[in-house]
C-alpha cells in the first residue's frame, strides 16, 4: 500500500512540474517536495502570485474536506509601545465584515462610521485626561453606542460566520500569536471557493464596524484569560521580566491600558502595514487539485496590491543576559517554579542540541521526573521545553510543586541536574529516546490536515517551510559529546529568570 502511495505521489509530482507554467499570475516556479524524512512522503506544492502571496498546497484525495488557512506574518512582536494587542483586536474585527459582507447598504453606513470616529477622538481625549469613570466619557460612549444602534439597520450581523457555518465550515476561528495570525476554517472539498471569496475580500475591503463593542469584548477576554487566571497572569508578568528589550515581552492580547486606548485610526495604520498579500501565506491541505487551486488563488487574490511601503522590521534583539531575575507571587493555586534561559533565534545550530537537552530532562523517564516526582516526591509534574523563536528563544524548565515543598530544595536539585548535563554527556539510551520521541512527534504531527498547515506556516515564518522536513534529522544528528558544551553555554542558573508561585502563607521564604 505504501509503495502504491509513493508511486502515486511521484506521478503527481511529475504532472505538477510539467504544468506550472500555465499559471498566468505565477511569479515563481512551482516546486514540489516529497519528504524522505522518517520514510514519509508528503507532497507540498509551492507557488506564489506576482503580488507576493505565497501559496502552499498539500493534496490528499482520501478525505472529503480541505483545511483552508490564511496566515499573515504579523503578531504581538510587531506592535510598538502603546499599541500592544492591535493584531489581536484586528483578528476580531476581521469578522465584522467588509464593504460587501456584513452590510445591507455600505454607503448608508459610512456617515455613521465617520461620526463614530469623530466622537471616538473626543472619547479618547477625555479618557486620557479624566479616565473612564468620568461622566463625559460615559456620555460620549453612550452617544457612540446610540449611533451604532442606528447604524445597525444597515448591518447584516456576522455574515462571514454564517456563510462559513452554512457551508459546512468546521473549526472556524482565528488566532493571534507573537509572530503571525491565522484565519482558519475547514470546508467540504466542493466549497473551497467560498474561502477564496471571503478571504480575498477581507484582505482588501475590511470595514471597522462595531469597533467599540468589540473593544469591550476584547477587554472581557483579557479579564477572563489573565486577570482571573492566576497562573496566566503570573506567566504574562514573568515573560515581560525575561525579555528585557524584544517586543516578545509584550502580551499578544495587549496591556489593558493599550486596549482601552485603541482607535480605528491606529488599527488602520497597522493594517496597511501588515495585512497585504506579500506578507501572507495561503495554505490548503486536503482534497484539492493544486493546479485548480492556484488558478483560483490567482483569480481571487491576484489583483490585490502589495504593501505600498516597505514594512518596518523588528531589529531589536535581546542583549546578553546580565545577572539573574527572580519573581515571586503568592496565590492560592498549585505552587510552581519556572526557570527561563536565553537561547538564540532560528536557525542557530545550537537549537538542535537544546532540543536534545529538552528530551533528556522531560517525560516520565526523563531526569527531572525521575528525580523530583519519583525519587524525592517534591513535585507533581516537571519538564523542560526548548522554545525556538524567530529572534530570541528561551529554554524553559518548569515544575509543579506540592504545597509543603520548599521551593529552595527544588531549585537546588534543578541546578544539580543542570550541572550533571554540563559535566557528563548523555547516555546512548537517552539519545535514542530523544530521537525516537522526535520521530513520533513528527509523525503524529502529520495526522491532521490543520496540523500540517500550522507546521508549514510556522516554518515558513521562521525561514522556509522546507525546513520542516529536515528539522528532526538535524536533531538526530546531534552528538552526545556536544551536549555538555551546549548546556554550559546556555543553561547558566545565575543568568536565568526564576519565577515562583508560592502558597500565600509562605511568601517570605523566597524573598
Amino acid at each position: 500500500m505504501l509503495k502504491q502511495i509513493h508511486q502515486n505521489i511521484r506521478r503527481l509530482l511529475k504532472a505538477i512540474c510539467f504544468t506550472t507554467s500555465i499559471f498566468s499570475v505565477s511569479a515563481t516556479a512551482s516546486t514540489a517536495i516529497a519528504s524522505t524524512a522518517t520514510g514519509i512522503d508528503l507532497p507540498v506544492f509551492s507557488d506564489s502570485l506576482s503580488n507576493g502571496l505565497r501559496v502552499l498546497i498539500v493534496p490528499d484525495s482520501n478525505v472529503a474536506i480541505v483545511s483552508c488557512r490564511l496566515y499573515y506574518f504579523v503578531g504581538g512582536m510587531d506592535e510598538w509601545s502603546s499599541a500592544t494587542g492591535l493584531s489581536h483586536l484586528y483578528e476580531h474585527m476581521l469578522f465584522k465584515g467588509t464593504k460587501r459582507l456584513g452590510t445591507r447598504d455600505y454607503s448608508k453606513e459610512v456617515p455613521y462610521l465617520n461620526s463614530i470616529d469623530s466622537l471616538d477622538r473626543l472619547l479618547q481625549s477625555v479618557r486620557e485626561a479624566k479616565g473612564e469613570n468620568d461622566p463625559q466619557y460615559k456620555a460620549f460612549f453612550g452617544e457612540i453606542m446610540s449611533l451604532l444602534d442606528k447604524q445597525r439597520r444597515y448591518i447584516k450581523k456576522d455574515e462571514i460566520w454564517e456563510l462559513y457555518n452554512n457551508n459546512g465550515g468546521s473549526g472556524l476561528n482565528a488566532w493571534t500569536a507573537d509572530n503571525m495570525t491565522g484565519y482558519i476554517v475547514t470546508l467540504p472539498k466542493n466549497r473551497v471557493e467560498l474561502f477564496y471569496w471571503i478571504e480575498s475580500d477581507r484582505m482588501q475591503n475590511t470595514v471597522l464596524r462595531e469597533f467599540h463593542s468589540e473593544r469591550e469584548v476584547v477587554t472581557e477576554e483579557r479579564r477572563m484569560r489573565y486577570d482571573n487566571q492566576p497562573v496566566n497572569r503570573y506567566w504574562e508578568r514573568l515573560n515581560s521580566l525575561f525579555y528585557a528589550a524584544h517586543p516578545y515581552r509584550q502580551p499578544v492580547i495587549g496591556w489593558e491600558s493599550d486596549i482601552r486606548a485603541h482607535t480605528t485610526e491606529k488599527l488602520r495604520d497597522h493594517v496597511h502595514r501588515f495585512y497585504t498579500p506579500d506578507n501572507a501565506v495561503l495554505i490548503l491541505v486536503g482534497n484539492i487539485d493544486p493546479k485548480k487551486a492556484m488558478a483560483d488563488a490567482g483569480l481571487y487574490f491576484g489583483g490585490i496590491k502589495r504593501a505600498a511601503h516597505k514594512r518596518r522590521e523588528v531589529v531589536t534583539r535581546e542583549p546578553a543576559a546580565f545577572g539573574g531575575t527572580r519573581f515571586t507571587v503568592a496565590e492560592d493555586v498549585e505552587p510552581r517554579m519556572d526557570v527561563l534561559f536565553q537561547t538564540p533565534g532560528y536557525p542557530n545550530a545550537d537549537i538542535y542540541q537544546l532540543d536534545v537537552v529538552e528530551g533528556i530532562l522531560s517525560d516520565r523517564s526523563g531526569r527531572l521526573y525521575k528525580r523530583l516526582v519519583d525519587k524525592e516526591q517534591l513535585c507533581t509534574n516537571v519538564g523542560a521545553s526548548n522554545n525556538v523563536r524567530l529572534h530570541n528563544g528561551y529554554f524553559h524548565i518548569y515544575a509543579s510543586l506540592k504545597k509543603e515543598t520548599d521551593p529552595a530544595r527544588v531549585e537546588a536539585i534543578i541546578k544539580e541536574e543542570i550541572d550533571k548535563l554540563i559535566k557528563n554527556a548523555p547516555t546512548d539510551r537517552e539519545m535514542t529516546r530523544v530521537v525516537n520521541g522526535m520521530r513520533m512527534s513528527f509523525v503524529t504531527g502529520l495526522k491532521s490536515l490543520e496540523g500540517i498547515s500550522d507546521r508549514l506556516a510556522s516554518f515558513e515564518r521562521l525561514g522556509s517551510w522546507k525546513d520542516m522536513f529536515d528539522y528532526q534529522e538535524k536533531v538526530a544528528s546531534v552528538k552526545a559529546a556536544s551536549i555538555p558544551e551546549a548546556a554550559g553555554k546556555y543553561l547558566n542558573p545565575e543568568l536565568a529568570t526564576w519565577g515562583f508561585i508560592v502558597p500565600k502563607t509562605t511568601t517570605k521564604r523566597n524573598n
Binding site: 488566532w175 472539498k189 491541505v285
Partner: protein, 536 residues
C-alpha cells in the same frame, strides 16, 4: 523540541465559544465525540446517505465558464455555485468484529502514516463508585498506566514506553474507562504485549499507589483555583444534588481507598464488563484481529451495570460561590432528558439557533456582538445516555454587567419561546449541521472510534447514516414546540462564581436600572468554593 510540534506561543483565539460550540453542535447532534483527525483513508466501506446534491445552476455556471473562457468573481458569496459532493456517511459494519472472548472490535487499516491507534471503552465509571470511595476509578486508571505489571515493573514500563516513544493512557469518565494507545507501527509487537499486561496483569505497585495518591490529593487541593472548573463543579452539585452525578472525590475519600479496592474494581471492570475496541493504522487487518484475540484471550462475561437513579433536582434557584475575581461566571440551567429521546434532534437544532452557533446564534449576537458584554457565551444541550441531562447557558462578564447580561439572555429565551425560530434560522442550522459531517469522518481512525463509541452507548448502527434525514425532516413547528416544552424561564437555576461583595453591589444597581436581580429569587445560597465538597 518545541519546534517539531510547532507549538505556537502565546496564541489567543477569536472565540473560545466557537471551539466549544463546534463540539456542541455536531458532537451533540450527531452524537459523536471529537477524535483525532488523520489524513488518508484506504478503507472502502459501503456508504449510504448522500449529503449534497448537484444543482442545475452549477452546470449552467460551468457552461458559462467554458463558453467565455474566463471566469468571473460573483458579487456575493451567496451566488457561488458548488459542485455536488460525492461523499456519503461511512458505515461501521464492515469494520466490526466480534472477538473470540466476547469484546467487540472495530478494525480499519490506514497505511498513510507508520502509526497505530487503539482505543477501548470499558463499562465502569465514577457513577458506580462506592460512597466514600470517590476517586477510586480514577486512581485505578492512573495506576494501570503507572503502577507496573507482572512482566514489567513500573520503572521498566515507563522506560520502555518512553524509549519507544509510545503513548498509553487510561481515564475514567462517569460511565466508562477509556483506554488510548498510539505508537509507531514498527513497535506493534511490543505495544500489544504492553497492552495485554496493562489490561490483565497490572500489579498496582504499593509505592506507586502512594505516589499517585499524593499527587491526586494535591490536585484535589488545587481544583478550585480557577473560576471555570469551580463553576462546573458548582453547577453539577446544584443541578444533581445528592446523586452520584454530583459527587466529587475529596482528600478523605482518596485516602480511604485501599489497594484491595483497586484490585477488586479492576477485576470487575476488566473481566465482567462490556469492552468495545477500535484499532486503526498501518497493519494487516487479519493480523490485528488475531493480535486482539490474543490480548483478550480469557472469556469476558459482562454483568449488568447497576447505576442508581439520578434526576435533575435542584433544591435552590441560585447558588453563588465566592471567588475574588473581577468577573461573574454564570451558568443558567434547565432540565432536559435522558437519551435516546424523540426530541433529541429538535432540541439540538434549537440549541444551535439559541446559543450553539457561535456569533450567529441569538445569544452570541445579542450579548457578545451587540453589547460587548462577554467574550464567550454559548448554550449547550447536553447528551447523556445514562441519566437526564440539562441544557445550560454559560457566560463570563465583568461583575457589574452580569445583571444586564442575564436580563438579555432571559429576553432571548422569552422571545424564542413566544415567537419561535424563523424559517431562515432553521434552514441555516440544518445546512450547518449536515454539511459539517464530512469533517467528523475524515479517517479510518475517526470511523472506527466513532462506531465503537456508538455501540458502547447502545445506538443503532445506522445512526449517522440516518442523521442527515433526521435533521432535514424537522419543521419550524417541531423546534418551536421543543422551545415551549424545555425552556421555562421560571425554572431556570443560576450558578454564579464571583466576588460576592461586587455581585451584591451589582444587584443593588441592577434594581435601579430594571435589570435582573438575584434577590428576586426566593431560594439561594452563598458559599465559598472549598465548601462545595460538602454541599448536597
Amino acid at each position: 523540541m518545541t519546534i517539531k510540534t510547532t507549538k505556537i506561543l502565546f496564541v489567543i483565539c477569536l472565540s473560545f465559544a466557537a471551539m466549544v460550540t463546534s463540539v456542541a453542535s455536531c458532537a451533540n447532534t450527531a452524537g459523536k465525540r471529537s477524535t483525532a483527525a488523520v489524513s488518508g483513508v484506504d478503507s472502502a466501506g459501503a456508504t449510504v446517505g448522500v449529503i449534497d446534491t448537484a444543482t442545475a445552476a452549477t452546470a449552467k455556471a460551468a457552461a458559462r465558464v467554458r463558453a467565455t473562457g474566463k471566469r468571473q468573481i460573483v458579487s456575493h458569496p451567496s451566488e457561488l455555485k458548488f459542485d455536488s459532493l460525492d461523499w456519503k456517511v461511512p458505515l461501521g459494519d464492515r469494520h466490526r468484529v466480534e472477538l473470540v472472548a466476547g469484546p467487540i472490535a472495530y478494525v480499519a487499516v490506514d497505511s498513510t502514516l507508520p502509526l497505530v491507534s487503539i482505543v477501548a471503552y470499558i463499562r465502569s465509571g465514577s457513577l458506580t463508585e462506592p460512597a466514600g470511595k470517590e476517586g477510586l476509578g480514577s486512581l485505578m486508571a492512573r495506576l494501570m498506566r503507572t503502577g507496573g505489571t507482572e512482566r514489567y515493573n513500573a520503572d521498566t514500563l515507563d522506560a520502555l514506553i518512553d524509549q519507544l516513544a509510545m503513548s498509553f493512557s487510561f481515564a475514567q469518565t462517569e460511565s466508562s474507562i477509556a483506554f488510548k494507545a498510539s505508537f509507531l507501527s514498527e513497535y506493534l509487537d511490543t505495544a500489544m504485549v504492553i497492552m495485554k499486561e496493562m489490561f490483565f496483569h497490572p500489579v498496582f505497585d504499593p509505592k506507586k499507589l502512594e505516589r499517585e495518591r499524593k499527587i491526586t490529593i494535591e490536585n484535589i487541593g488545587n481544583r478550585f483555583a480557577n473560576p471555570g472548573p469551580t463553576l462546573s463543579v458548582a453547577y453539577r452539585k446544584h443541578a444533581y444534588q445528592k446523586s452520584a452525578a454530583a459527587r466529587i472525590s475529596t482528600a478523605a475519600s482518596v485516602k480511604s481507598i485501599k489497594r484491595g479496592d483497586i484490585v477488586a474494581l479492576h477485576k470487575a471492570a476488566f473481566s465482567a464488563s462490556d469492552i468495545i475496541l477500535a484499532a486503526s493504522g498501518k497493519f494487516d487487518e487479519k493480523d490485528m484481529i488475531n493480535r486482539l484475540n490474543a490480548v483478550f484471550a480469557a472469556p469476558i462475561k459482562p454483568q449488568p451495570q447497576v447505576i442508581p437513579e439520578i434526576a435533575v433536582a435542584p433544591r435552590l434557584r441560585a447558588l453563588v460561590v465566592h471567588k475574588g475575581i473581577s468577573q461573574a461566571y454564570v451558568r443558567m440551567g434547565l432540565p432536559l432528558f435522558k437519551s435516546p429521546h424523540p426530541d433529541y434532534y429538535a432540541v439540538s437544532l434549537l440549541d444551535y439557533i439559541l446559543g450553539g452557533a457561535g456569533f450567529t446564534s441569538r445569544l452570541g449576537s445579542r450579548v457578545r456582538s451587540d453589547e460587548g458584554l462577554t467574550y464567550s457565551i454559548h448554550s449547550n444541550a447536553e447528551t447523556n445516555y445514562t441519566y437526564p441531562a440539562t441544557m445550560h447557558i454559560t457566560f463570563y462578564t465583568k461583575t457589574a454587567s452580569f445583571p444586564k447580561a442575564v436580563t438579555l439572555v432571559l429576553e432571548e429565551l422569552d422571545k424564542i419561546v413566544k415567537d419561535g425560530v424563523t424559517e431562515e434560522e432553521l434552514e441555516n442550522a440544518k445546512a450547518a449541521l449536515i454539511t459539517e459531517l464530512p469533517s467528523f469522518f475524515r479517517s479510518p481512525e475517526d470511523i472506527v472510534s466513532t462506531y465503537a463509541w456508538n455501540e458502547f452507548y447502545g445506538r443503532a448502527p445506522d445512526h449517522y447514516a440516518k442523521y442527515p434525514d433526521e435533521i432535514r425532516k424537522l419543521t419550524k413547528a417541531d423546534i418551536d414546540n421543543a422551545a415551549k416544552k424545555y425552556i421555562t424561564v421560571d425554572k431556570i437555576t443560576y450558578t454564579i462564581v464571583g466576588d460576592t461583595t461586587a455581585i451584591s453591589a451589582a444587584t443593588t444597581a441592577a434594581v435601579k436600572d430594571g435589570f435582573f436581580s438575584i434577590n428576586s429569587l426566593k431560594s439561594k445560597k452563598v458559599m465559598i468554593a472549598d465548601s462545595l465538597e460538602r454541599f448536597e
